[in-house]
Amino acid sequence: MKHLDAPLHVQGLSQFTDDVRPPRDMVHGVVFGSPVARGVIRALHVEEATASPGVVAVLTAEHIPGNPLFGPIIQDERLLAQDEVAYVGQPLAIVLAETRADAVRARALITAHIDEQEPQFDPRAAYDRGDIIGKPVAFAMGDVDGVWAQCAHVVEGSCSIGGQEHVPLETNRARAFPKEDGQMLIWSSTQSPYAVQRAAAKILGVPENKVEVDVKRLGGGFGGKEDQATHWAVMAAVAARHTARPIEIVLHREEDIRMTGKRHPYESDFKIGLDDDGLILAFEAKHFQNAGAFADLSMPVLERTLFHSTNAYFIPNVRVHAACCRTNLAPNTAFRGFGGPQGMFVIEAAIAKAADAMGLAPDQIQAKNLLRDGDELYYGQKTERCMMRRTWDEAAEAFDLESFRKRAHDFNAANFGVKKGFAVMPVCFGISFTKSFLNQAGALVHVYTDGSVSVTSGGIEMGQGLSTNLQAIAARTFGIDPARVKVEATNTTRVSNMSPSAASATTDLNGNAVIQAVREIRAGLLRVAGELLGAAPDSLTIAHDRVARDGKSTEIDWNRLVSEAYLRRRKLSAYGYYATPNLSFDHATNKGNAFAYHVYGTCITEVSLDCLRGIYTIDSVKVVHDLGRPINELVDLGQVEGGLMQGLGWMTMEDLVWDEKGRYTSGSLSTYKAPDVYFAPDDLDVRFLPFWENEPGPLGAKAVGEPPLMYGIGVYFALQSAIRAFAPDTALVFKTPMTPERALLALHPDWSPSPSADRS
């Protein structure tokens, strides 16, 4: 089975938001963003822009008809800034014109007089000032303070973890169409249609039922469109209301990078205690999250950091503190892994540092402390059907872990200027939204009288293969050919109150909802079949487009069954609803069952480092991953490989740089580099555990979207070990990404630039 949309994609026939032929009178909007990172707005002059050729209108904060404040958790953000600005690029005005070129020309005529204030970018300093969003949070188990004294080795350190730009190939964009009676239709490239609907309704000052949001597909999201697609969609809606014309807003790449948030940079401290054998007895971490200027999703992201701070290890005594620290960057947001990667990096750094102090290989400590079935995690959930050690053992065996050690050792002994390093990265990642109420989904299934089937869910197709999965789920549950099933655009009038397509849970939640709907229709159809055949419905099934009785085909095929049901006035549509059972996380005590289950896997990464130039190649990445029983193996393989590649990029070349004024100097694809085909390792070998039925997943599947990203963390430690092979005295530093610059400087710890004092 292939990707459902693949034939359209390869022919250039699949339509994205702005590929549909625009209505004649469509107006183009561009956004004027704050030129400064922090300050008080004295005046905003838009008169010249308004008079510029082709301009229809220029909208500012005063044009917001309803409640100007929005935000997914705390409503602390304004659609258009008023009084003050808090990051470079914060939207101040929308220029609407007949063409995009007219709008861009007019935008250059806007002037903003802003009294600049000293911007803040350091999360630790923000924490010290008390400038945090929400409250600090702590997860704890056991008696950390009491145990340090018993540890043979206690190691402390700190990490500085870089952020990451999403770079979905399709930037943020939306169209809005004004409709009768104050209604609004919005097409948005969003992972969260309901977030758009809710925000648009509030900001337009209308009930939610007057806003319809429709999403066909996304050219990538990765979390960047979970909450931050909302802004542009709502701006388009406000503009459509104001002008009574259809509006399109398409961000150009540089606008998208400048105006939207990224994966959160973190500053973290750790302390780890071990016995002489490398058993971890206690672990403590403090995470200072660089949240940016507004709350956005920073709090739930922070929470997931807390959940994943011991990654794949059982540690009896744990204490993790964390806080969202306010800075003058664009509000940082969801990104595949959602805070988990930062938490995992820190424990891996702690293990690397402890191993170094103890003269052990990091993988010896890792292997010793892996989770077992039934272990109680520090947030109170016990692992069930835990595959952690199994994936580790299979990876160690299938890929011959010892051969990596030997190869690095022999190669490094024989070569001066090139060094090899490797690292193992086990991953344990919890599946479910940690805000339990989000773990619900609806799906609408129609069967038409010609036997074709329409499926709408609350999930978004963004390349992760949701429609392919839903098609397979519906077809298999009905017992019909998948070709009969069409998966529709996501639309808020067909499915209500949907949760964002996020947390890897989209197929789990929506697939289960589709199963509910299909089962209801199918049960009715089998009753009809029973009437036709004079048989008890429970002796009947549908398989291969035909009713079977006690396993044997009957003369009733799917088309006949459906038309009989119609003629007999039976229900051929159903709305399925699913809520993940057994979730009971208590946010007062921070204990409970936060996740439906965990995903496990183990990755081995090997690198070669050119110690003369500081550049490196990833020789191989080898993975054993647990999928349960995949709905579509090809789709899931793509998820593992793609997630892994983003993780590799995050740890190596994806370097977010801003200047002292808070402007991203890595603000385009010429300065912000993401992996290309030459960077991708030629030897990428992903294997799966033998398939098994994961009961909470639809048809036994496991979620797969996010966990593989964290395999990428291994490359940092592989590079570090190669650096150490060349420069044994270089300090172990945990500062990501490991750019060629950081690698070369680490290889030459004694380097000090000579002659003149350069400007820096």
Partner: protein, 482 residues
């Protein structure tokens, strides 16, 4: 005068300004939305199209990024978008390989990959090896797949198609049903488009106070990135529509390269590869295939970026620039051409016509290094070239260039002079590095800190010598000595 060209199988007469971007024209005026916009700066490849130029009774196709391509350039050309590769009732081998390997997820990058891989099939100079598959898609970003499946798609295409290819790639691909049949008719159709009288470039400076002189557009790969929004409204001269300036010739002991020679042409030139045996590998570190098909020598020289890669090569070749204004010609050595950040010795009304340099004596050693954050399709943090003529173990003549460490691309005069007459020993190299450090003044920016760039200066000069004298010099000995 309208721009007349074929877009897929249809004749287009475009009245729009020649400076309008091909991408915008294709998407908005022609409603062909398979071509995607991912960056509008040449860096993602989502907008890649084929541009076909008639050569006798065949058409030669090259992939180019339509987001850096002026409409005016298309006159008499065949432009192929992903839609133009669709067969009437089947997927093409490229398309089906991508489908079968699961090498498309969100699909936004996919049309670009289809076009780039098809470009590889159409290029008679290239096999379908794994390396060439990477070569072909090196300018295409995919954020979803991780590339393994795309490489596998390349291998699958090779298995299905390679045995059917003949030197006439268009004909054999049409016969194999791998591209639509209309391709076979294009040479004839393009011949029927009359070539317009060359628009005259401004050769005399505009008198002050009147309209600004027209913008000279070569490949557009710098201009559109820097000021793309304004070009459609401007009066432009499409330099590629002028005759000449596109060949590489050897005459009187010198190589003469037309100013409009592209990066790709330069790196593929057999003549130049004799002089610089590793030239092709250097080229791989410059931009990407679709950009190299457009980027010109003159654009690189006149954009005057401190990290210009071609300039760094041309500096050590001791190049001379020839400018023309009307019938007047003037020559300037490249080494003394730059006067400050993005300022240089060029006069109003001039165009750069050619670059020439002496053919180095046989046995001249040559090497070039570049380090950037990403190895490929990235701008250099530091680049450097070296040329040395040896005589019995002594450096008889040396030239070293260094980019990214000063407001202009540097020719290291002191360092080059110092090396002359010395043996390539550890001491010589260490002393040369000191001189190079004294000649440069890097600053910190998004591509690296000043201290890092200085370290790179040391490392890359070292790399020159380690590469050129592998027998005599080892990295270990340097590290012991320094």
């Amino acid at each position: 005068m309208p721009t007349v060209f074929y877009l897929n199988d249809s004749l287009v007469r475009a009245a729009a300004s020649p400076g309008v971007l091909a991408l915008d024209y294709i998407r908005h005026e022609c409603s062909l939305t398979g071509t995607k916009e991912g960056c509008k700066e040449g860096d993602c490849g989502a907008c890649t199209v084929l541009m076909g130029e008639r050569e006798g009774d065949t058409v030669r196709y090259q992939p180019v990024t339509s987001c850096t391509l002026p409409l005016g350039e298309l006159h008499g050309r065949h432009v192929v978008t992903v839609e133009g590769l669709n067969l009437p009732d089947a997927l093409s081998p490229v398309q089906s390989a991508i489908v079968d390997e699961g090498a498309t997820q969100c699909g936004y990058c996919t049309p670009g990959f289809v076009v780039s891989l098809t470009a590889l099939l159409l290029d008679a100079t290239k096999t379908l090896s794994d390396d060439n598959v990477k070569y072909a898609i090196g300018g295409n970003l995919c954020r979803c797949t991780g590339y393994r499946s795309l490489k596998a798609a390349g291998a699958r295409i090779r298995e299905g198609v390679e045995s059917k290819l003949t030197p006439d790639r268009v004909a054999s691909l049409v016969n194999a049903g791998a591209i639509p049949a209309y391709f076979a008719t294009m040479a004839r159709k393009l011949a029927a488009i009359e070539s317009p009288a060359s628009p005259a470039p401004a050769r005399t400076p505009a008198p002050s106070g009147t309209a600004p002189p027209p913008l000279l557009l070569a490949g557009g790969t710098d201009l559109y990135i820097q000021r793309g929004d304004r070009i459609p409204d401007q009066d432009v001269v499409i330099l590629n529509r002028l005759p000449g300036m596109r060949t590489i010739e050897e005459r009187d002991g010198r190589i003469h390269a037309g100013a409009l020679v592209t990066f790709e042409q330069f790196m593929q030139s057999a003549q130049l590869r004799k002089i610089m045996p590793a030239l092709h590998d250097y080229g791989l570190l410059m931009a990407s295939w679709p950009i190299r098909n457009r980027a010109t020598l003159s654009g690189n020289i006149l954009n005057a970026s401190p990290i210009a890669d071609m300039v760094s090569l041309l500096l050590v070749l001791d190049s001379e620039l020839t400018f023309r204004s009307g019938s007047a010609k003037r020559s300037v050595p490249l080494r003394s051409f730059y006067t400050g950040y993005k300022t240089y010795d060029m006069r109003p009304g001039e165009i750069l016509e050619a670059v020439s340099f002496p053919v180095p004596a046989p046995g001249t050693l040559f090497h070039w290094e570049k380090v950037s954050k990403r190895r490929t399709l990235d701008i250099a943090t530091v680049n450097t070239g070296i040329r040395m003529r040896m005589n019995g173990g002594v450096i008889e003549d040396a030239a070293v260039s260094l980019g990214g460490v000063a407001p202009v691309p540097l020719y290291l005069e002191e360092t080059s002079r110092f090396l002359t007459g010395r043996e390539p020993s550890v001491e010589t190299v260490l002393a040369a590095i000191d001189r190079a450090q004294a000649e440069c003044a890097p600053i910190s920016d998004v591509r690296g800190s000043a201290g890092y760039k200085r370290l790179l200066v040391r490392q890359l000069i070292l790399a020159h010598f380690l590469t050129l004298f592998p027998e005599e010099l080892t990295m270990e000995r340097f590290y012991e000595a320094s």
